[in-house]
Point group: C2
Chain length 564, copies 2
């Protein structure tokens, strides 16, 4: 976009209408996961994506983390739709919570809508949906929105373009540049190029793999690996991948087809996504190649493919239970071939390694290493990302979908293809901003710390509950209980001691401590009858020191004094 | 080794002396870490290495894990020495505990002895040491032991060969094949080759990186990367690596020397190992290039190199504290260059990533990726390992130092260079065996599950304390306390409720539960006066259900009833 052209436009039609644009990232900037972005143009707004993320390593006992959606309450009358780029949980997992704030229709591909319906809790149903597909160019409220086909590790992923008086805003969602995808629907490079020629004001582009050199590679590249693994396998093949990676599942099914293998699909999430994929006709397999649980026994080993979950070593997944020998009705046998078609997500490496070790121990041959070439990423590497930047030639660039270092690397890539550093903005969650044809301006940052979901409760990451849990995990807890006479301080009952995570329940230390504590209280009362809080403090110190001296552990110590 | 030759030997001298050899792996097989092996030849024995490992992801609150050394007590009168291959903690970290079982002299290089002295607790001092160096060929008891120079990520690492009537047993320790090491002392390939010609009965070789293709690469390869990073740096350079990697530290010091940078060494472990290295003259730097804490301020930014710990993102390390802005006297400034010269150990990825992100946030330029080439492994890749196998041509092969999958890969490598599968044994900890010129025979497995060190206590991994801690971490604990009259069941005081990790201390749920519990007890007493254990059970059920209904959390619930 040329400055001169803009200036002349400006001169010619000084009174032209200017859209007021405000963009609010609620999640997905400076982190991987819980993606959620609000785009406001004048009096209309759309949300793009509403994902959750899994807890970080120091979020003990948390189920998942969702974006803080307070901001939605302020603008809910403006929100015309919730637009979904694709059906991964880090883009749709918080939709149930979103609908509690905003009852707007959900725009998504047919496949994504099928998956979404599993995510929305019953109490939020029915909810409004609009099936859209790549190529659709529609008004949502007064907003001009276009859906563009991209390739990713899930079918029917889409980028979203919003046209404004100031130029086009392009939000890529997750993507890589796959020119030979399994469904023969390559990423729509023509469209990105055309938008680039038309004039992109602002690009927001996936940064997940911005530190990986090269291209991500095509999903189709895996087929030859699968063919050779299948060719070598004399026993059962157990294939594990992300449940939503329909094309990956299609490829292994295609690879075993010449051998006439039957297919058993194991695990709730994978059964569900295969079902949706078959329903919307993006996976086509004859019904009779699938077998049910009770038919497995009658299929010869070299005619069996089992597709299951558990690439991340999740303890309750099908693959982990197989590895531990704890699966309900399947057992690893010598001669089985196991394929883990995924990279470990950071934080899961140890669980994955333990699963692989146990599979080897049980006699399986396991394919899992990077060198085994059983996985390609769905996120563009540096060359994919540069190509997107070069085709779209945006005036301003905001890297999204990535931890801080990934945003830094995407900024570096943008600079390397000629976008001036002053036009690239590394922002973090809650950093809303406006953009017009000349400026991108940061506004006051709004609260956007993730909400931790733990059962029914929503909390912030610095909750004292988490600090307590970390402490409990490390050192355990000791509660001592005694009932005393309010007037005399005399012990009426107890002390009794309850511990968890400190020493065994029958440890002699506890008997000793009970006795010592009693003696301490008697002396204490004789010496110094003071208030109950004082006694409590003294008891705490006394028992903490006693336990530390004997064990070198520092449990949380809570004395409870019941007064009569 | 040729079968025919052995058979003819056997025929010629049927009455020759046969050594009785027994080998007991106490740690380091099927895991990375806590290496410890016992070699017995007739009435003499040596221990090779005595390491600890850091706890696995589900060992909550554990400090570290050491080998189970019970077996040493049975043979302690035979043990003539503790032989140390090199000074990494997974090879020396359990020496203090070992000396509690066996007061044998420690044989190690001068450098290793310096590091070891930091590891042995005061109460075990003094202890006997024998400085040895590569090339030494000595009798230890009646055992014929030779130390052979290998290259690794620490100076003066050694393999150990034990000569017996049955052939040579070669224990490699950790190694890679570095032909151009920083200290100009390449791995002694000549010696390995000579031993191979002489006849190696059994090879035990490092498997840590057996699944990595190619050669590990030379430590010296890093120098050109360091030179170019240093050349580009206009501000301070903060260099982080493992404290024992003296050659790595030497190389960055050499790289900054032309710029005349001063060096500040930060962190207890790195200060100590640099001190030992300088003392034993394997690191040579003039005293005047080191600065002290109070001099840092007076050194210009482009004249400063800070060497620190923290490559694993350990929360209390120098680098993590710098990244969080919590270092006592150093602060990251825009323009600083930070080098993380190490790969994350599996399990540490998230902590490392968080550290890198925070360093970028504070304006540093960070080198940390594999592509940045700021690290090479000290463990041989597949090509190193094959070369060792081909030079030594062992009759029998036992892969060591690795998790189960690494042992499998090392077996595959051995097969690929012509060792028959039937001569390769994947063993795990506690699987002792004998070997003679014809057979390797597994004996009865002995207990060798690691001991978890937690304060003063030694425990096994299946301890209920750990299960409790995991549960506490996930769900927290609720203790309710009430004092009742033994005869009437009437409440004398309470109930009081104490929780940690469930809800906030001032949560209304607790007030409500206290009231409900009181009401429940009154009704309960009226309806059904039963024994205290019954009441306890009912109270537990009642409060667990109450909390679950309100919060969907399942804390450990412990009702304490004090009777009078």
């Amino acid at each position: 976009m040329h400055m001169t052209k803009i200036q002349s436009q400006h001169t010619e039609q000084t009174s032209r209408h200017h859209d007021i644009i405000r963009i609010t990232p609620l999640g997905g900037l400076g982190e991987i996961g819980k993606n959620m972005y609000v785009y406001e143009v004048n009096d209309d707004a759309v949300i793009i994506d509403a994902g959750f993320k899994f807890p970080e390593y120091d979020m003990q006992g948390i189920d998942y983390v969702i974006p803080n959606m307070e901001y939605l309450d302020h603008i809910k009358d403006k929100i015309r739709g919730i637009l979904i780029t694709h059906s991964h949980m880090d883009h749709i997992g918080a939709l149930g919570y979103t609908l509690e704030h905003v009852r707007a229709p959900i725009y998504a591909s047919k496949f994504a809508l099928g998956i979404i319906d599993d995510v929305i809790p019953g109490r939020m149903k029915p909810y409004e949906t609009r099936a859209v597909q790549a190529g659709d160019h529609i008004k949502i409220g007064n907003m001009d929105v276009e859906f563009i086909h991209v390739t990713h590790s899930v079918p029917d992923a889409m980028a979203i373009a919003i046209r404004t008086s100031e130029g086009i805003i392009l939000h890529t969602g997750d993507y890589k540049i796959d020119q030979t995808p399994v469904d023969d629907k390559p990423i729509d490079l023509q469209k990105f190029s055309a938008l680039g020629r038309e004039g992109i004001l602002l690009l927001l582009s996936d940064s997940t793999n911005a530190q990986e050199s090269g291209f991500a590679g095509s999903e189709r590249d895996l087929r030859s690996t699968f063919d050779s693994i299948v060719h070598e396998s004399k026993g059962r093949i157990i294939f594990s991948t992300f449940s939503s990676n329909i094309h990956r599942i299609q490829q292994i099914m295609d690879a075993v087809a010449p051998q006439g293998r039957k297919i058993f699909v194991d695990g709730r999430s994978i059964i569900s996504s295969v079902k949706v994929a078959r329903k919307v006709k993006i996976m086509e397999m004859p019904e009779n190649i699938f077998v049910q649980q009770d038919e497995i026994g009658s299929v010869p080993k070299d005619k069996m493919l089992i597709v299951t979950t558990g690439t991340q070593g999740e303890p309750m997944s099908g693959l982990s239970r197989l590895a531990r020998g704890e699966h309900d009705f399947l057992k690893i046998m010598k001669g089985d071939t196991v394929v883990l078609s995924a990279d470990p997500i950071p934080g899961n490496e140890e669980m994955v390694a333990r699963t692989v070790d146990n599979l080897f121990r049980r006699g399986a041959n396991v394919f899992y290493r990077r060198e085994d070439k059983v996985h390609v990423s769905g996120h563009g590497g540096q060359e994919d990302l540069k190509l997107m930047l070069s085709l779209t030639r945006p005036k301003f660039f905001v890297p999204i979908h990535g931890e801080y270092r990934h945003l830094v690397w995407n900024k570096r890539l943008a600079e390397s293809v000629g976008i001036p550093a002053s036009h690239i903005f590394i922002l973090e969650n809650g950093q809303c901003f406006t953009v017009d044809s000349e400026h991108l301006t940061a506004l006051k940052r709004i609260p956007a710390e993730g909400l931790l979901i733990d059962g029914l409760a929503l909390g912030l990451p610095d909750s004292p509950i988490l600090t307590d849990r970390a402490r409990l995990a490390k050192d355990g807890i000791l509660v001592s209980v005694v009932s005393i006479d309010r007037m005399t301080g005399k012990i009426l009952a107890g002390p009794e001691i309850v511990t968890k995570g400190v020493v065994a329940d029958d440890d002699a230390i506890l008997t000793d401590l009970t006795r010592e504590m009693k003696a301490f209280m008697v002396t204490h009362r004789l010496k110094d009858v003071r208030s109950t809080p004082d006694l409590q403090l003294d008891l705490r110190k006394f028992s903490a020191k006693y336990i530390y001296d004997k064990t070198r552990r520092r449990p949380i110590v809570i004395p409870v004094i019941l007064e009569r």
